[in-house]
């Protein structure tokens, strides 16, 4: 009996027992699909986090410092001076303030509001920074210019728009040289940033940046308590953090006369990577269990199937089948069933990944990794073949008369 014939016989046998074949496949379909979906969701999430971190830029140090009322003196000027003094370690320094008061931003007939929490996509935030705001936050200038030292020094009525704010206010018109109204005060647009391109992160793009010297008028005269320092390298980041902590420690004892904190995205990114590794492990374990359960299902139905076909094996032997022909037939049958099931599982897994990406990860297009897909597929097929083959080998080594006696 040649291989072609064996394949034909296997397909005939599968087609003649559709229900049983489908049940066998079901375990594989569920196992493979669940592994594929889980892994692609985890990978998608990691990718999203990495994109976000990349857009924010690395070697970025966040400094927070505030002294309670009654403590003597304002340290924000001193801190800013100190940061500016670390030229050997630092690329740029900027105060980083978000204005939390309700403020309207208007151009022509279009009005946006900083407190529009109902519609994140249409909320525009007002931020205050220095001429180095763009460098520190990893923005790329799309047109016009950054804020200048003079703008800050003279408190000029100028602003720079984030990519999202530019789109909302001006659509595709070049905004440079136009005037927008912030709480009815005219501001000249001098430049705009490219969108950061991170989906679902409208708060990084829907931004209007003003010189930080507007803090007194727009922010209820509060002290500037947050700075962003962009360091030259990972090593410089570590050193700058140590220096800043020492500097701030000289003025503030945490919890007694104020609070301060200095941390970098590098720490955060490490933490996130650790976290996503944990997630991968946990979800991977769950997916592995479902694959195992699917595998046990395959095993059971294969054992039952071949046992119930012992008589068939006896008949085939009585009319002249060699052991080898019978083993080859069952091997091919198991491989074909499991293979088809595995392919359906991969198909469902890909569809499931796309759906999960759409609803869980803000429309991200998820595509499962080929290594995991092939791995899950191979595992299920191997399982089906092994457990389909073992009873077949056992049954085929019986004397024909014993196999014929089976009911």
């Amino acid at each position: 009996m040649n291989l072609m014939q064996a394949f034909k016989m296997a397909f005939k046998s599968i087609a003649s027992k559709k229900m049983r074949s489908f049940l066998t496949m079901l375990g594989i379909i569920i196992g493979v699909a669940s592994v594929v979906i889980m892994v692609s969701v985890v990978q998608g999430q990691n990718k999203k986090q990495m994109e976000y971190l990349e857009a924010m830029g690395d070697n970025k140090i966040q400094v927070y410092a505030s002294r309670w009322y009654g403590s003597s003196g304002d340290i924000s000027e001193l801190l800013y001076e100190y940061c500016l003094g670390m030229q050997d370690l630092v690329v740029g320094v900027t105060p980083q303030i978000e204005v939390w008061q309700e403020i309207t931003i208007k151009y022509g007939a279009k009005t946006f509001n900083t407190q529009n929490w109902d519609d994140w996509e249409k909320r525009v935030s007002l931020k205050l920074g220095s001429d180095q705001f763009g460098v520190c936050n990893n923005y790329t200038l799309g047109g016009g210019r950054e804020l200048s030292f003079l703008d800050v020094d003279k408190t000029n009525r100028v602003c720079v728009l984030g990519g999202g704010a530019k789109k909302l206010l001006f659509d595709f018109v070049d905004p440079v040289g136009e005037t927008i109204f912030i709480n009815s005060q005219p501001f000249l647009v001098v430049g705009w940033y490219e969108p950061t391109g991170v989906e679902g992160m409208s708060d990084m793009d829907n931004v209007v940046l003003l010189p930080y010297t507007f803090n007194r008028t727009l922010n209820n005269n509060q002290d500037i308590s947050q700075y962003v320092v962009k360091a030259k390298s990972a090593a410089a980041t570590t050193m700058a953090i140590a220096k800043l902590k020492a500097f701030l420690g000289g003025f503030i004892t945490n919890g007694e006369n104020g609070n301060y904190d200095v941390y970098s995205n590098n720490d955060w990114s490490n933490q996130m990577q650790e976290q996503s590794l944990m997630q991968s492990l946990v979800l991977g374990a769950i997916a592995g269990i479902s694959l195992l359960v699917g595998g046990i299902g395959i095993m059971n139905i294969m054992l039952v199937t071949v046992t119930e076909r012992t008589r068939e094996i006896g008949i085939r032997k009585a009319i002249g089948a060699e052991r080898r022909s019978i083993i080859v037939q069952f091997l091919i049958e198991a491989a074909v069933i499991c293979g088809i099931g595995g392919l359906i599982g991969i198909g469902l897994g890909c569809m499931g990944s796309l759906i999960a990406g759409k609803f869980l990860l803000q429309g991200m297009i998820l595509w499962p990794s080929s290594v995991i897909t092939i791995g899950a597929f191979t595992f299920s097929v191997a399982l089906g073949v092994v457990f389909g083959l073992y009873p077949a080998i056992k049954a085929s080594s019986l004397q024909p008369v014993e196999a014929l006696r089976a009911e």
């Binding site: 009996m1 014939q5 016989m9 005939k12 046998s13 003649s16 027992k17 008589r311 068939e312 006896g314 008949i315 085939r316 032997k317 009585a318 009319i319 002249g320 089948a321 060699e322 052991r323 080898r324 022909s325 004397q399 024909p400 008369v401 014993e402 014929l404």
Partner: protein
């Protein structure tokens, strides 16, 4: 000499209290072209006899020479070849594969024989035509009566033109009219030169065989030739 057995034993649970001697030192010779009925009550060892003669089972000890070959020393592969080419089996319960139609059932031994794909269907159809079942080639066993199924089983047994046909109670599950029809097919095969071994418990059927071997408790108690009306 086609079949030559000497001192053949088939013993289950040998040496234990539950020891059963299904064949207890049987010797028998059958020539090419004979029609032999092996008769005995239930438990006399006649089915075991057919299983051993048909290479479906191995004897505990003894000699079995089939067509000049010592069968007891053969391996699975060669036994499969004998079952495929030398012997055609007909069982009481037909033993057709339920998921295949009549034609595919008859084609099966031709596949194991290695017959070319172009000849198989023709040979199988010819075998079905011989038993008058060619018009039901595409019916499944569940769509056929017992007599029809047994005729398909006979077609399967003769598809490879084996020199020996072994039939174990072929009429046991059939009414007397279809039973006579099935016997008629066997008698026709005999006239064409096929050696027939017919296992039965029914003396009426045994009376139609030119030679009757009677078994009791695993031993041959008589071996007679007789005149039959159909020759």
């Amino acid at each position: 000499m086609l079949i030559d057995i000497k001192d053949l034993y088939k013993i289950y649970n040998e040496g234990q209290e539950s020891e059963v001697r299904a064949l207890d030192g049987v010797s028998l010779q059958i020539d090419r072209g004979e029609f032999v009925a092996i008769v005995g009550a239930s438990g006399s060892g006649k089915s075991t006899m057919m299983n051993v003669l048909g290479c479906l089972d191995v004897p505990t000890r003894g000699e079995y020479v089939l067509n000049g070959t010592d069968v007891t020393s053969l391996k699975d592969r060669e036994l499969a070849r004998i079952r495929n080419r030398e012997i055609g089996f007909i069982f009481q319960g037909y033993n057709l594969l339920q998921d295949l139609d009549a034609l595919d059932n008859v084609i099966l031994p031709l596949i194991y024989r290695g017959t070319s794909i172009f000849e198989r269907e023709e040979l199988a159809m010819a075998a079905l035509a011989r038993v008058g079942m060619d018009d039901r080639a595409r019916h499944r066993p569940s769509q056929m009566s017992g007599g029809q199924q047994q005729r398909v089983a006979i077609a399967r047994a003769i598809a490879t033109h084996p020199p020996i046909i072994m039939a174990d109670e072929p009429t046991g599950a059939l009414d007397s009219k279809t039973g006579r029809h099935v016997l008629g097919i066997l008698q026709q095969l005999y006239r064409e030169g096929t050696t027939i071994l017919l296992i039965t418990h029914d003396d009426g059927i045994a009376a139609t065989a030119p030679r009757v071997v009677r078994l009791s408790d695993g031993k041959i108690i008589s071996d007679k030739h007789q005149e039959v009306d159909w020759l």
